[in-house]
Symmetry: C2
Subunit: 375 residues, 2 copies
């Protein structure tokens, strides 16, 4: 059977407990995907990423097509072999990052031409080229090539952009080489406009995908507007396919989105924060640069089983980040990824037990009760 | 019995197989100590440093007295507890680095006053203060406070500097608090002048130390001049105490020095090289930035059991270092430390088997036969 498979194993309100089956293994959902932009989850060995409980990572087509090149990775056996990550990989289409990073972009019906931000070399990304690159990377889940509608956008701008993405979605589907265990996800666009989101979802369902992403969020609209869109958009999508909210988010974004029926997430937040002295915890975020930690012999979180919390004091972590030691980034990244995976596992357990609402209330209460730094 | 203990377990020519016993465990010699300047061996978790086989690390008094402060580390349980390294630690005296890093240094018979290169704060290092700091850090092996004689130096300059260091050595010994398993090493100075080295060694032996370091080398004199000094200096030192060559060196420096009777080494080379794309190997050094590695699916060294060589290709390591990913520094540092520990273990085996000379010849041949990149 071609494609990836998805099983809904349980429901609690709109939230779903599920499993995505891919060529490189299964993914329990709701799932968080750490970002491995350039074929490395920054400051982590892949073996350590697996130890945090992550079952799938995301890699970026735009970065990898430029360096080291998709053809090169294919020759070296694909991305799993290249970076020694044998679990599933999802690649984005390159559409979002070509618009935010590349120089001299020129968009047309056909696709986008641009110059590399690295060396000025000229490249083209089209739905067909994006599918080809993602195939060469050996992505278990490929994403349709789309335009991420900017925010804010008028209804007219949002519709025009969405319609282009739907035409590109069809071309992506046509160009995608079907294989067992390899899936292609479409991306719902339409900005903050319910009618457009419904039109977009309908267009994608007609084409038919292995999963459906919700794109164009987490681009500055704020959590309230995002949750508004998530109140209705999952309902436009088929029950039997996974739903992936792209580029999200903070821990409370994840909880709110899971309650609204989202199954998959990716975000640079835990890894990037790990390199900028920010740690996530049950009690909210904690800035390890703060001088108040300098004499604190307690672990970051006494209930956390990650190496940063098991082996070191806040005073030591503070020392490391204050002087810019690589080990500080290594330990805080590990902690943050561990925390994100624990949060997803806790939500899966809560859905299975039918008490996600109580879990979410307790989660919000813990975060609000305050700063771990005050404990 | 106060101090650290040393047992000579075997000899092969001038080379010795031995064991240093300290409060935090034993060190098999010849031994290489990775440098953990600011209470972290850069880009390595301490657990990983132990996995390379390292039995002792070096930490820097100058850096730690400025940040986070020796008093703070003492309150937090000492350096072992602070950085989660439960094996032995040797600290330098601060003398070398205060002269190379601090601002507005002023040297007198009493010691050195200076301003921190970090925040301009005023500090003083004397033999007494250095002993106090190293005690607060809980160093298993403390080093006498000395002046590292600059190179080049006239015989007069070298003698004056050495005599000052000998007076400071005596004050260091007086200030050192004796405890079981904690040792104090003196440092032989005298530049490249045999007579001065002998005078210095005699002065130190009269004071009496748990071990004897050879200082003032690897400061620009070159390997030939260094080996000249090592041809005679170990012979001025007691047979029953460990000999430590400070700040050395390249792999062939280590082999040559072990053959001349040196037991302990420290150097930033394997860790610093790991952060600048250089790998050490049986076949010499290899620069992973070189474009010739970009499509090379082979491991860095197929005979090496470190994670970098076991799990990744040269092409992947090249990719990481080319784009400046932290994982590149992490993997190459691990490889280099692993290689250094393997080299020391191989020399210990060769001494035990009485064939160090053959080992050294084979080692030189392998390094000369060339570049691993050509294989």
């Amino acid at each position: 059977m071609n494609g990836t498979q998805f099983k809904v194993l349980g429901k609690d309100g709109k939230a779903r407990l599920g499993r995505v089956e891919t060529a490189h293994g299964d993914i329990d959902t709701p799932a968080f995907m750490p970002v491995g932009t350039a074929a490395t989850v920054k400051a982590m060995r892949p073996e350590s990423v697996a130890e945090t409980g992550a079952q799938i990572i995301l890699a970026n087509t735009y970065h990898l097509m430029l360096r080291p090149g998709a053809e090169r990775i294919e020759k070296l056996g694909g991305l799993h072999e290249f970076m020694n990550w044998q679990r599933p990989i999802l690649t984005d289409s390159g559409g979002f990052q070509v618009m935010s990073l590349a120089d001299l972009r020129k968009m047309s019906e056909k696709g986008v031409t641009f110059r590399s931000h690295v060396d000025g070399s000229k490249h083209e990304l089209t739905p067909e080229r994006s599918m080809d690159i993602q195939r060469m990377l050996d992505a278990d889940i490929s994403m349709a090539f789309d335009e991420c509608t900017p925010f804010p956008a008028t209804p007219e701008q949002a519709e025009e952009s969405m319609q282009l993405s739907m035409r590109w979605a069809e071309r992506s589907k046509d160009a995608f080489v079907e294989r067992q265990g390899y899936g292609l996800f479409g991306i719902v666009q339409g900005g903050i406009y319910k009618g457009l989101r419904e039109q977009s979802a309908d267009a994608l369902k007609t084409i038919g995908f292995d999963g459906y992403a919700i794109g164009g969020l987490a681009v500055g609209e704020g959590q309230e507007a995002m949750f508004d869109v998530l109140d209705y958009t999952p309902g436009f999508l088929p029950e039997g396919k996974p739903r992936y909210l792209m580029g999200v988010g903070k821990p409370d974004d994840l909880v709110g989105a899971v309650m609204r029926g989202v199954d998959m997430f990716d975000c640079v937040l835990p890894t990037r924060s790990g390199r900028t002295s920010q740690a996530f915890s049950r009690r909210g975020t904690i800035n390890l640069r703060n001088a108040r930690h300098s004499d604190d012999a307690r672990p970051l979180d006494e209930n956390c089983a990650c190496p940063a919390c098991t082996n070191y004091s806040r005073a030591y972590l503070h020392h490391l980040v204050k002087i810019g030691e690589i080990l500080g980034a290594m330990l805080l990244t590990w902690h943050n990824l561990h925390y994100y995976q624990e949060l997803m596992a806790a939500m899966r357990s809560a859905i299975a037990a039918g008490n996600l609402e109580a879990f979410a209330a307790e989660f919000a209460d813990q975060q609000a009760r305050g700063d771990i730094e005050q404990l």
